[in-house]
């Protein structure tokens, strides 16, 4: 493993890319170079060894201002107000860039969202007022309304803004309270304060300035409350809890060991489960299972209930790997188990499963291996009326190996084959292997995708396709696991052994954690966390700890207004 520690994709990727399909292949993530991976361009910012030669200087990479995502908003109001209504589900969707919907620069606030914030704030505040005692211990009867309002602003404000309020902020909020109290009553004033805070910048954004007293080389360590929020939003997708606030109060989030200790505590908390799910749901595009267009005549069995069950199955499997099993990528990719209800069992052709609840089932290990052969993924990575070797191969390249495939050249007639009785999907797509300009790029996708041909467009095992026997032999190229394989189970086993795949998982988690692509400035952070991941046998939980303690996570560039 050490050979690649300081050059995550350099020494290996650069010569490999030159072998096949050089015009088509790139490395995902353009960082700050501002160029796109067009045809003929291979982006590999770590190829230059000088970039990563020195890791003595702390170099955290950029830290764009981050707005709460939909799921972060939901979890935050759950923890702040005890409100479990998930109001952000009716917000307009977060803009998707790359693989994730939490990319900071894409999270703008158009008017539709600002109005949704207002509606949600009004509803949340109204609900909160029904049990205001849960939010404040102050008794107006004994302490007086003025004192209680001031105490509420300070106490609730600290949790809403995830840091203590300045006296100016407290003053502005008290004025707001008074303005809305007059002519009405105490609770109206408090309700307005809650509404206002839920629409304000310090609540909706994760504002960071860093500790400017420790400025060195344009870099500042995060302030304790800022570190607390980074940890809580990364590992819980929500605001800090009392323990994190207490650690920040006591300035006990300053060292790597202190941060690691909190991160381990947080990973063992049930709140880590939905946050980790969110990453996988986006990485695997599970959010589209419900809506991906399918022809009802081709797939009459694919009901909304079944789609939902497929989605839940994959998340249940991820939960099991992460929290019950060993947390390793190898298990994620190869374990022949899943979580089925009666409807899913019929997709798998498994008998003896009844009811709608998911239960753990051992599967035929010659047919199924981990995530990749699950119906949710096979459904998402399919066409409306058939499986798709192209989409499936592209998925493996892009999401598991972090490579990009250039789009087809402009102005050529592209003719994906149509479903034809008697012609298997593989036969239909084999045209790609034969003709240019298809061949050079499809060589990178289809031979991987053919390995999934035992699964139809909704993930059912098949040995016959359009009357033809299924041939699931495939070939991997331009990777560190080049060579032939037979079927997706074999492919999954090979991928599980791939350093490139594991590095890619680390990279994807890093992007998700940071809300941005990696940049040359992140080289040392990336190298360190990939090394830690490898040392831990590719236990994803250890990867998350490594990200939490990386320079990129604990520091930021100085803010220059």
């Amino acid at each position: 493993m050490r050979r690649r520690r300081l050059a995550p994709s350099g020494p290996l990727a650069a010569p490999v890319v030159a072998i096949a399909g050089a015009a088509c292949l790139g490395t995902i993530g353009d960082g700050l170079s501002g160029e796109s991976a067009g045809a003929g361009t291979v982006i590999d910012r770590f190829a230059d060894a000088t970039v990563v030669a020195e890791c003595a200087t702390i170099s955290p990479g950029p830290a764009p201002l981050r707005r709460l995502t939909q799921s972060e908003y939901n979890s935050t109001v759950r923890d702040l107000l005890g409100d479990k209504t998930s109001p952000a589900n009716s917000f307009p969707p977060d803009q998707k860039v790359g693989d994730f919907t939490n990319t900071a620069v894409a999270l703008t606030v158009p008017p539709l969202l600002a109005q949704a914030y207002q509606s949600a704030a009004e509803q949340l505040a109204a609900t909160a007022m029904q049990n205001i005692a849960a939010l404040t211990s102050c008794s107006t009867a004994t302490s007086g309304e003025t004192a209680c309002a001031a105490k509420f602003i300070a106490d609730f404000g600290k949790r809403a803004y995830r840091r203590p309020l300045t006296s100016d902020e407290q003053g502005a909020l008290f004025a707001l309270y008074q303005a809305n109290r007059s002519g009405a009553d105490y609770s109206n004033g408090i309700q307005a304060v809650i509404e206002a805070m839920l629409q304000s910048a310090p609540f909706l954004y994760r504002v960071e300035f860093g500790d400017t007293t420790q400025l060195a080389g344009g870099v500042v360590p995060l302030l304790p409350y800022e570190t607390a929020s980074r940890l809580s939003y990364f590992l819980w997708g929500s605001m800090p809890d009392d323990t994190l606030f207490a650690a920040a109060d006591a300035n006990q989030l300053a060292t790597s060991a202190q941060v690691a200790s909190q991160a381990r505590r947080m990973l063992s908390d049930p709140k880590a489960q939905p946050a980790v799910r969110e990453f996988y749901a986006q990485w695997l595009t599970l959010d589209t299972v419900a809506s991906v267009a399918k022809d009802p005549k081709t797939y009459p069995a694919l009901t909304p209930a079944l789609r939902s069950a497929m989605h839940d199955e994959t998340l249940a499997f991820i939960d099991w790997v992460m929290w019950q099993s060993d947390g390793r990528m190898q298990t994620m990719l190869t374990a022949p188990v899943s979580f089925l209800n009666a409807a899913l069992a019929s997709v798998y052709g498994v008998s003896g499963v009844v009811g709608s609840a998911l239960t753990k089932v051992n599967l035929d290990s010659t047919q199924r291996a981990g995530l990749l052969t699950q119906p949710a993924l096979m459904t998402v990575l399919g066409k409306a009326d058939r499986s798709s070797p192209v989409v499936r191969g592209k998925f493996v390249r892009e999401r598991l190996l972090c490579q990009t495939i250039s789009p087809p050249p402009s102005n050529i007639v592209i003719t994906p084959p149509q479903v034809t009785p008697g012609v298997s999907t593989r036969q239909a797509f084999s045209i790609h292997d034969q003709v240019e300009p298809c061949k050079s790029c499809h060589t990178l996708m289809d031979p991987i995708g053919f390995g999934f041909e035992n699964y139809d467009g909704m993930g059912r095992w098949r040995t016959v396709d359009q009357g033809q026997p299924v041939d699931a032999h495939g070939t991997l190229s331009a990777s560190d696991i080049d060579g032939p394989f037979n079927g997706a189970v074999d492919l999954a086993g090979k991928l599980a052994q791939s350093q490139e795949m594991n590095d890619c998982v680390a990279t994807e988690w890093f992007r998700y954690a940071m809300g941005r692509g990696e940049t040359p400035d992140d080289a040392c952070s990336m190298a360190a966390l990939k090394g830690t991941f490898a040392s831990a046998g590719f236990d994803i939980r250890e990867l998350l700890i490594a990200i939490s303690t990386s320079d990129a996570f604990r520091y930021r560039p100085q803010v220059n207004p």
Binding site: S36, V413, P416
Partner: protein, 435 residues
């Protein structure tokens, strides 16, 4: 002031109307001289041009197979043949992304690898879209500067966004008719005193929120500030809506539909059309758009017995006559939905004609021909007279391709926005004579 507009049967699908309703005060003047309105309709993946292009005839033009559903409104159509999205030859992105992002902005996408990386910047469109440019001038006259509707868009990436308030600032469409409806028409069931109290509280909370945004904007980097300033603009827009929020239009009901069930695609589109027309009719906005699915839409159309996804079909070669026939069916179906929109608009009388007569309705596509991903000749249908700025009932064929930026300039001009260039000026050579 009568509530003539809102008493009309503005919503289909079994909608019922409230016995009485208020028409916004700002509409009183508007009804005296009905304002112009801009409506933009999008459908994806290009067309089959020879089945789309009308034939010239002695008396004007004969509608093509795809446009045949528009026959009842032929005298109100202006068909443009020969528009070229010239900008699409430039800048980052694949042809669908460029088509979608350039279509209404006339400029390149921002750099950035949207296929995979999370680079900076994001790779959305590099400029404002024409409807939003018009909204800068007239949006303040109505409760909503503009309204964006979508039908099963189901995604939030560059292929799925066509309306932009600025570079990297896509405006998401409302995809749920129920939510769109409640945003627009949910009348406040409050008395005057309660309404006043609510407005007072909203004003104070928004003022406070705005103050926190201003404070933040002054302390952060220039890159971050752009996003916070957009947020500030959005809050300002909501503040402006406050005054109008007590004067809702009619209060019909919209039933719930499964937004993921492809069989509901036609019904959702129809409901969204109904809501859009009502919003225009009762003066909630002068600018609206409706986006069917998205660029690269791969939906099947089981109601047409088409099981292959649209995008997949759109790649079929010209020689595949069966697929070409299905693509004609798909585009004809979209023409039927467009005809329904025109029928609704034309069914609403205004003092100088119909609502349609006061509209400029643009039906546009991100591509010309799907299987080659070309951007010319773009299939462009305009309907309505825009109160005289448009002279319809014509097929205009340009002998040499005209950059679509010129069309965007002319649309803005028709709506009263006096610009002489739009988008990247490198692709704009003037305007078109639409009158």
């Amino acid at each position: 002031m009568t509530s003539r507009v809102s008493r009309r049967s503005v919503l289909g699908a079994g909608a019922s109307l409230a016995a009485s309703s208020l028409v916004p005060r700002y509409l009183e003047a508007a009804v005296a001289t009905p304002p112009t309105r801009l409506v933009i309709i999008f459908s994806a993946n290009g067309t089959i041009y020879q089945s789309w292009l009308p034939q010239t005839s002695a008396t004007g033009f004969t509608l093509s197979p795809i446009l045949q559903p528009l026959a009842p409104f032929q005298s109100k159509l202006l068909i443009l043949a020969g528009i070229n999205v010239k900008s699409a030859g430039n800048g980052p992105g694949d042809d669908h992304m460029k088509g979608m992002g350039h279509m209404l902005t006339g400029t390149e996408l921002l750099p950035g690898n949207t296929q995979g990386g999370a680079g900076t910047p994001a790779g959305f469109a590099g400029g404002i879209s024409i409807d939003q440019r018009v909204a800068q001038d007239i949006g303040g006259q109505t409760r909503f500067p503009s309204l964006e509707f979508g039908v099963m868009v189901h995604s939030s990436d560059v292929w799925s966004r066509m309306i932009y308030s600025g570079a990297n600032q896509p405006l998401p469409p409302m995809e749920d008719p129920m939510k769109a409806f409640s945003r627009l028409f949910a009348g406040l069931q409050l008395n005057a005193q309660q309404t006043a109290a609510l407005l007072q509280r909203r004003k104070s909370t928004l003022d406070y929120a705005q103050g926190t945004l201003s404070s933040l904007a002054s302390r952060i980097s220039a890159d971050d500030r752009i996003r916070v300033q957009e947020h500030q603009d959005s809050v300002r827009q909501i503040e402006a809506q406050l005054l109008a929020s007590s004067s809702a239009c009619a209060a019909p009901m919209v039933g719930a539909l499964d937004l993921n069930d492809i069989n509901n695609y036609p019904a959702i589109g129809k409901l969204q059309t109904d809501i859009l027309v009502t919003a225009l009719a009762c003066g909630q906005t002068r600018i609206a758009s409706l986006q069917w699915s998205r660029s690269v839409s791969d939906i099947p159309m089981p109601w047409l017995n088409i099981s292959t996804g649209h995008h997949t079909l759109s790649h079929k070669p010209d020689s595949d006559s069966a697929s070409q026939a299905q693509l004609v069916s798909i585009n004809t179906w979209y023409a039927q939905q467009f005809a329904y929109l025109l029928q609704r608009l034309d069914g609403i009388k205004e003092s100088n004609g119909t609502l349609l007569d006061n509209c400029l309705v643009l039906w546009i596509n991100e591509l010309a021909k799907g299987n080659v991903h070309s951007h010319q000749p773009l299939p462009v249908v305009i309907a309505g007279k825009c109160s005289g700025a448009i002279r319809p009932g014509r097929l205009v064929t340009y002998s040499s391709p005209v950059p679509h930026n010129n069309l965007l300039v002319s649309i803005a001009n028709a709506m009263g926005t006096n610009i002489t260039t739009f988008g990247n000026p490198a692709y704009c050579t003037g305007s078109l004579n639409l009158s």
